[in-house]
Symmetry: C2
DNA sequence: CCATAATCGGATAAAAATGTCCTCTAAAGA
DNA sequence: TCTTTAGAGGACATTTTTATCCGATTATGG
């Protein structure tokens, strides 16, 4: 829900990119996806689109790779979604009446409006920098859990499972 | 966004059903879709699922058709969505980290949470009765616009377009 | 009990989304 | 200049979603 698979790859890819390149060095795809579950070849296609949309810069050949076209805090979720899916059309009527829009609202339309507005705000204000930071925090979190699990394993060596 | 095509058909179909059967008489598919853009055969499949999910009752043969399995105000959007897509998984991390959930949240997760909660509330509180009422209001609205357009047409008979 | 009328359910098709592979092109460095 | 390295982009494969069709099944009414 909310995002398509392709869009999610774009989001994750950009978050990884922003998180890994401390300075503004370019990063290669192979490096970017290592340690993640991101599908290398498909992400390549997605990144091509992001390059054309102006969110990424790419360089061929040796020392090539990808860089953010502008600072991470200036790339929003909205930018990403629109680069992939085209203009966001959250304005459609929930009931599905095509002639329904902000100028000709149905009651349902108005009920849904505040939610839609919140979503829009979220998409417009959340940046790749936020995502990268979230990603790092989360990765640290996962690591801690793994360490604790390993410690537990040591104390219970009888159970050979996994 | 938000709903898949199939889910939207389900929503629209149920709204039509609730709006057309003043009492609890059953309605045939052909009658239901007449005057709408709902695809008859595909909706038939969708309705089969809703029957199995317990939202609709169906009757074969003469005098058959579909009825709501319970009062319109007791069928929520959530019920519909889950009948089609299975349990709603709005809880996935926006960043796409699979190990992220309410017990192991990442920062992004918490930012998105209030929106998700609002969406859930909307799905849980909006009923087929609401949708049917919205639909009727809207249909009346469209009719008024058509009439006004026709009046305008009479005053400008030179323009033969349409 | 037969003709009719309606959904059910299987088969199939068409379209869109997702995923993979391979060659071309551009850039860097020896 | 030649070789290596990286993304670009076309072709193709797979999967999922959406759509259509038709015979089977079930019920009604004469």
């Amino acid at each position: 829900m909310i995002f398509t698979t392709t869009t999610e790859y774009a989001i994750r890819g950009l978050a990884e990119l922003a998180g890994r390149s401390s300075d503004s060095k370019s990063i290669m795809l192979d490096e970017l996806v290592s340690g993640t579950t991101l599908p290398r070849d498909f992400l390549a296609k997605v990144f091509q689109r992001l390059v054309k949309a102006g969110l990424l810069k790419s360089a061929k050949g040796r020392g090539g790779g990808f860089t953010l076209a502008r600072p991470a805090h200036q790339i929003t979720l909205k930018d990403i979604v629109e680069s992939i899916d085209g203009p966001i059309h959250l304005d459609r009527c929930a009931v599905g009446l095509d002639k329904c829009n902000d100028h000709q609202p149905c009651p349902q339309h108005d009920l849904y409006k505040p939610i839609r507005q919140r979503l829009k705000d979220y998409l417009a204000t959340t940046t790749v920098a936020d995502l990268a930071s979230s990603l790092k925090t989360k990765q640290a979190w996962v690591k801690i859990v793994e360490i604790k699990a390993a410690e537990k394993e040591e104390k219970l060596p009888t159970n050979g499972k996994h």
